[in-house]
């Protein structure tokens, strides 16, 4: 466990420089260089062939859909699409690649020199993209003999090559200086924007929890006016929240070392989801020399300008445009919209509205009660066990007067506990606003006789005092009355 500085103190003294490398698995039907299926969740080693197993003599052929998807990503990230590009072999020995090399790209990536704009706290940050290139994913290793399935203490490893050869797009940023204390938020906003862009292109479902988007976070610190520091590379940061935490942790850790006059070593570090800490991996001094060379088994690519322009013209509405349109449609202010974006709720609210509720109703639940629940659980909003359709159904019940907000929150408890849809939960738990006016009137009469002084005040014109009686009625009905209706009855009786 490293010594850590207080975050706010650290960013008063040091300026962070970020860098992000993101890997995204494409949603093609087949692998990058062979016709094996890419379907998720198949039995181990049932989606392999001579090409992806690297049997002698097998010849790879590039998947056209993967090239097209990568060009689309490049265009959406404002990149230049190469006129001439090729694959290269990245040589290393590790059992997750049966070939002893990974087919990747080196000096001639498909796409270069782009940018993404993200807004944090109302300030726009332009993240420069260095390159977008295409490569292949590795197999999955299972470590046996160790206590926790990790390599440490393992006696052997078991390999499944179903994932080996699935097209993987790597997106690398240029160093991002100038984010100051907001570095964690900017890093998170960038990955979220990237994910939304790729999702909008329909080239990957980008499910971070399934590992279809994986992030490496580079970070260095320097004092203002000084040269950039030595960076560390934190590998496999696999959720938006983790991206933020990894940056924050490295700022705190590195600044404590620098304060003590210790040099930062350029190294790979691992992120631990459970603790939010990073720990050292391989140090770059002993890092592999990948001996890249042009892949002799694959033909070079010359994406024609006509084809590139055709793809550009066919790009869908991108997230930034979409957010502007939705903000106008929903009638939200800039601040409120920023909260929606920060909570990662744009898609959730859009789907909730599409399921038939008002924007106000959808925003209320996702930014209010449901955000609170997500925070409590340390989960992301989209990972909660409630769908936009269910939220729309819930708000529909509130609109119909069948639930009040208090009962609705109890219904949410049930939905999150897996008891069914809001209608089913309300029925099972007997949660429904008492609409029987006879019963309500009796409860009001009882409250009035139990609180004569309050009743007198209301008769005297102090309507605000009705709150006490409403509270008494709500208590008597276990919260299952509609406060508005109760108020109306009280004022009718005493007004």
């Amino acid at each position: 466990m490293s010594r850590l500085n207080d975050y706010d103190k650290a960013v008063e003294t040091y300026e962070p420089v970020l860098g992000l490398e993101t890997h995204i698995e494409l949603d093609t039907n087949t692998k990058m260089f062979c016709g094996c299926s890419t379907a998720f969740g198949a039995e181990p080693n049932t989606q392999t062939c001579p090409v992806c197993l690297a049997l002698p003599g097998a010849l790879p052929v590039a998947n056209k859909a993967a090239i097209e998807a990568t060009v689309k990503i490049g265009l959406a990230l404002n990149c230049h699409i190469a006129e001439w590009t090729r694959f290269a072999r990245k040589n290393y020995f590790y059992p997750d690649m049966p070939k002893n090399f990974q087919t990747s790209q080196y000096e001639e990536p498909l796409c270069e020199n782009g940018y993404v704009e993200v807004a944090v706290d109302g300030v726009d940050y332009r993240i420069e993209i260095e390159r977008v290139h295409l490569e292949e994913d590795t197999g999955k290793t299972l470590h046996v003999g160790g206590a926790t399935g990790r390599i440490h203490g393992a006696t052997e490893s078991l390999v499944d090559y179903n994932r080996a050869g699935i097209p993987l797009v790597e997106i690398v940023t240029k160093p991002v200086p100038g984010t100051g204390a907001l570095a964690p938020e900017v890093a998170k906003a960038y990955v979220a924007e990237l994910r939304d862009i790729v999702r909008s292109l329909g080239v990957s479902d980008v499910r971070m929890e399934q590992g279809s988007l994986r992030c490496d976070v580079n970070l260095s610190l320097n004092k203002p006016g000084e040269e950039w520091g030595t960076r560390t590379e934190t590998k496999n940061v696999n959720s938006l929240r983790s991206v933020e935490r990894a940056v924050r942790y490295e700022v705190r850790r590195q600044s404590a070392l620098l304060d003590d006059g210790v040099k930062i070593i350029q190294e790979t570090r691992h992120f631990h989801e459970s603790t939010g800490e990073t720990s050292p991996g391989r140090s770059k001094e002993e890092a592999t020399d990948y001996r890249y060379f042009p892949e002799p088994d694959l033909a070079v690519m010359e994406p024609s300008r006509e084809w590139v322009e055709e793809l550009r013209a066919g790009l869908p509405e991108l997230p930034r445009k979409r957010r502007e349109r939705l903000q106008a449609t929903w009638g939200l202010g800039d601040k409120e919209m920023q909260s929606v974006v920060n909570a990662d709720a744009v898609g959730l609210i859009e789907a909730t509205v599409a399921a038939g509720t008002t924007p106000t109703g959808a925003v209320k639940w996702w930014l209010g009660e449901l955000s609170r629940r997500a925070n409590e659980a340390g989960a992301e909003l989209g990972a909660l066990a409630i769908t936009p359709e269910q939220v729309a159904e819930l708000q529909g019940m509130v609109d119909d007067g069948r639930l009040n907000d208090k009962l609705a929150r109890q219904v949410i408890d049930g939905v999150l506990a897996g008891e069914g849809s809001p209608v089913e939960v309300a029925a099972k738990r007997g949660l429904e606003v008492v609409s029987d006016t006879g019963a309500l009137e009796a409860a009001v009469d009882e409250a009035i006789s139990a609180n004569p002084a309050v009743a007198e005040k209301i008769r005297g014109g102090t309507h605000a005092a009705a709150g006490v009686l409403i509270g008494a009625v709500m208590k008597a009905t276990k919260g299952q009355a509609d406060a508005g209706t109760v108020r109306k009855i009280i004022l009718e009786k005493l007004g």
């Binding site: 016709g35 094996c36 039995e43 056209k64 859909a65 059992p95 052997e156 078991l158 499944d160």
Partner: protein, 99 residues
């Protein structure tokens, strides 16, 4: 005098996962020198304005459609493995890196 040092040969051997004895280091350094020397002949050719070749056949844009083809049966796949367990390839533990 070798232009390739013993250390460089040792480094290359390590990258290629080859076990090389001390005597072999000297022998290989000498042999690699001869190879490099012969290759220098090529450097005498004037290649100004010639694009580097990436492939023996002058083809570009060779792609396949994104249509699944049958994979190999798992039994056949694992039959070629030195060792298997739980329908997977069994390999010695991997050192020096944490997954």
């Amino acid at each position: 005098m070798s232009t390739i040092s013993r250390e460089e040969v040792a480094h290359l051997a390590r990258l290629a996962r080859l076990e090389v004895t001390d005597d072999e280091l000297d022998a290989f350094a000498g042999q690699l020198d001869v190879i490099l020397e012969s290759m220098k002949t090529l450097a005498e050719v004037d290649t100004d304005g010639v694009q580097p070749t990436s492939h023996a056949v002058p083809l570009v844009n060779v792609f396949r459609e994104d249509r699944p083809q049958p994979s190999l049966p798992r039994d056949a796949v694992l039959a070629g493995a030195p060792d298997t367990a739980e329908d997977r390839f069994r390999v010695p533990r991997i050192l020096d890196e944490e997954a």
